[in-house]
C-alpha cells in the first residue's frame, strides 16, 4: 500500500487544477502584456484568476500580486515593510522563533544590514502569546511577521488578535499563510492582515507559483526589476498556466474547506490517538489550535531519518525534523523552540494528510509506525540505556 502523508511538504496537483491549466499551454498561450487578441484573452484570464484568489481571502483583486511561490512572497513582504519603515527611521521587526526559513533567513540577512529583530518565544504548545507580541512592539517597529500556521507542528497562531494589536499600534502586519491557505478560513479584513503569503503547491495547485496579498496603501518594493507586470511590482512574463491552476485549486479548497477539515481532522485525531499508545511518545503542538491535517510526534530512543526510511520501505511517505533530515547538525528549530531537548527532537515524525487519504491508509500507518519504532528501539543504545535506567526518560 502506498500512503502519501507529506502534504505539508507538497501536495498532488488536483484534477481541477490540471484541467484548468491545460488550455493555457497550447490554446490560451498569449502574453498578457500583448495588445493583440491572443494576448488580451490571456490578460482577461489572468485577471479572473486574481479575482478568484482575492475572493478566497476577502481581499480586492488589485491587492493580489502573483509570485513564484511562498518564499518570494515572504521575502517581498518583509523587504517592503523595511523600506517603508526606513522613511520613518523605523528599524525594528518583531517575529517568532519558529518561522519558516523563508522568513527567518530573510530576517537574519537584514540583521546584518542593521535591522534589529526580536524573535518572540512560542510556548511549549507551539503557540505564540499575543501579549508577548504586544510587548515586543516598539516605537521604531516597522513590521510584525508571524506565521499563520506552523509548517512542522501545524499550530495555528492568534492571527486576528495580533492583527488587532498591530492596527492599534500602527505597525504593518505580515503573515506567512502558506500552510493555512485553503485549509482554514482566512479573512484579511476581519483579521487586520496587511500582507499575506501563499503558495500554490500546498493546496493541490502547481509548484513554483504563489501570491502576496498587500493591502491598499502598502507600497511594495520590487525583488525583480524589469517589465511592468503585476502593476510594476514584480517583473517577468506571468506564469499564466500556474497562476490559473493555483486559483482553481484554491477555489476548490476554500469551497470545500469545512467538509475537508471535518474529514481530515477525524483521520488526524485517530492517528494521534492510536500512535500515542506507543510508550514514551509525545504529540508536538497544541491539539486544538491545529491545522486539520497535521500530526507531529516524537518517539524516544530513535532517530527520525531511519524512521522515515523504514516507513518509506512500507510505502509511507512522511517527514521528520531530525538533524539528518534538516541538513544541519541541529534538529528542527521549531521543535527546539517548543522546548524539546535535542535528543528527543531527533526522533520526530510529521505526518501531514489530505482529503485524499483513506481510512485504510490511516490504519496502515497505525499498524506500521509502532512496528518500526519497536524495531529501531531494539537496536538503539539510547533505548537500551533508558530501559536499564542508566538514562532518564524525558517523555
Amino acid at each position: 500500500m502506498f500512503v502519501y502523508a507529506d502534504n505539508a511538504a507538497t501536495t498532488k496537483t488536483s484534477k481541477t487544477a490540471i484541467d484548468a491549466m491545460l488550455p493555457f499551454f497550447d490554446k490560451i498561450y498569449g502574453n498578457p502584456s500583448s495588445l493583440h487578441e491572443v494576448g488580451q484573452i490571456a490578460k482577461e484570464e489572468l485577471e479572473k484568476a486574481r479575482e478568484t484568489v482575492a475572493k478566497c481571502f476577502n481581499a480586492e483583486a488589485r491587492e493580489i500580486y502573483f509570485t513564484s511561490g511562498g518564499s518570494e512572497a515572504d521575502n517581498q513582504a518583509i523587504l517592503t515593510a523595511v523600506k517603508m519603515g526606513e522613511r520613518k527611521n523605523k528599524k525594528h521587526i518583531v517575529s517568532t522563533k519558529f518561522e519558516h526559513h523563508a522568513v527567518l533567513h530573510t530576517l537574519q540577512k537584514l540583521e546584518k544590514q542593521g535591522i534589529e529583530v526580536t524573535y518572540v518565544d512560542v510556548n511549549k504548545n507551539g503557540v505564540v502569546k499575543v501579549e508577548d507580541i504586544a510587548s515586543a512592539i516598539r516605537e521604531d517597529t516597522c513590521l510584525v511577521t508571524v506565521m499563520f500556521a506552523n509548517n512542522e507542528i501545524g499550530t495555528i497562531q492568534p492571527i486576528k488578535e495580533i492583527g488587532a494589536i498591530c492596527k492599534k499600534r500602527k505597525v504593518i502586519f505580515h503573515t506567512d499563510a502558506v500552510q493555512a491557505a485553503g485549509h482554514i478560513n482566512i479573512d484579511v479584513v476581519d483579521m487586520n492582515i496587511d500582507m499575506l503569503s501563499i503558495s500554490g503547491h500546498k493546496f493541490h495547485g502547481p509548484k513554483g507559483v504563489g501570491a502576496l496579498y498587500a493591502r491598499k496603501g502598502i507600497f511594495l518594493t520590487n525583488l525583480i526589476e524589469g517589465g511592468a507586470q503585476e502593476r510594476g511590482k514584480r517583473a517577468g512574463t506571468e506564469n499564466l498556466p500556474a497562476i490559473v491552476g493555483m486559483a482553481a485549486a484554491l477555489k476548490e479548497a476554500v469551497d470545500n474547506i469545512d467538509k475537508h477539515a471535518k474529514y481530515v481532522s477525524a483521520l488526524r485525531d485517530k492517528l494521534i490517538r492510536e500512535l500515542s499508545k506507543i510508550p514514551h511518545s509525545v504529540v508536538n503542538g497544541d491539539l486544538v489550535n491545529r491545522v486539520p491535517n497535521n500530526v507531529n510526534m516524537c518517539f524516544e530512543g530513535i532517530e527520525g531519518e531511519s524512521l522515515l526510511l523504514m516507513l518509506d520501505m512500507e510505502g509511507i511517505s512522511a517527514s521528520s525534523g531530525s538533524a539528518c533530515t534538516s541538513g544541519s547538525l541541529d534538529p528542527s528549530h521549531v521543535l527546539l523552540a517548543i522546548g524539546l531537548p535535542h535528543e528527543v527532537a531527533h526522533g520526530s515524525l510529521r505526518l501531514s494528510l489530505s482529503a485524499e487519504n483513506t481510512e485504510e491508509e490511516i490504519d496502515h500507518i497505525i499498524k506500521t509506525v509502532p512496528e518500526v519504532v519497536n524495531y529501531l528501539r531494539k537496536m538503539s543504545p539510547v533505548w537500551d540505556e533508558l530501559c536499564k535506567g542508566e538514562l532518564n526518560h524525558v517523555i
Binding site: G301, I302, E303, G304, E305, S306, L309, M313, S322, A323, C324, G327, L329, D330, P331, P341, H342, E343, H346, K378, M379, S380, P381, V382, W383, D384
Partner: protein, 141 residues
C-alpha cells in the same frame, strides 16, 4: 536516491545487530544530542575478533556504516581491525553523501573504542597516542 544500493542494503538488513553478553570489549561513541550513538561489542579469542555486534541510534547511514564496519572486522586480528579506516568503510558502501561522512568516522571510532576497552580490561599495553578521543566537528559542534 540519497544513498547507494549498498548503503540501503545494510540499512534494510543490518548485519551483526545486537549485544554480546560478557563481551571482551565494548566501545560507545557519539552522543544523542547530535543524533548518533554507536556501540560495538567484540569477542576476542587468541587476538582474533571472533564475534562482533552493534547497536546504533542514528540515521540510515549511521546504521549502515555500523553494519559494514562490523562485517569488515569480524574474523580479523585485533591489529588488523585497528587499521580499519573510515575511508575503507565508505568505499565498501560505494560512497556516502558528504554530509554523512561523519557516520563513517563514528564507525571507525567505535571499533577503536571497543578495542581500547578490550586492552584496558586485559591489562594489555598500547600506545595511548593512537587512541585519542574523537574531536570531529560533528560531535563537538
Amino acid at each position: 536516491m540519497l544513498y547507494s544500493k549498498k548503503v540501503m542494503d545494510h540499512f534494510k538488513n543490518p548485519r551483526n545487530v545486537g549485544e554480546i553478553e560478557n563481551a571482551d570489549g565494548i566501545g560507545e561513541v557519539g552522543n544523542a544530542k547530535c543524533g548518533d550513538i554507536m556501540r560495538i561489542y567484540i569477542k576476542v579469542d587468541n587476538n582474533i575478533i571472533t564475534d562482533v555486534k552493534f547497536m546504533t541510534f542514528g540515521c540510515g547511514s549511521a546504521i549502515a556504516t555500523s553494519s559494514m564496519a562490523t562485517e569488515m572486522i569480524k574474523g580479523k586480528s585485533v591489529d588488523e581491525a585497528l587499521e580499519l579506516s573510515n575511508k575503507a568503510v565508505v568505499e565498501a558502501l560505494d560512497g556516502l553523501p558528504t554530509a554523512k561522512i561523519h557516520c563513517s568516522v563514528l564507525a571507525e571510532e567505535a571499533v577503536r573504542a571497543a578495542i581500547k576497552d578490550y586492552y584496558d580490561k586485559n591489562g594489555i599495553e598500547y600506545d595511548k597516542e593512537k587512541f585519542k578521543d574523537c574531536n570531529c566537528a560533528h560531535c563537538h559542534a
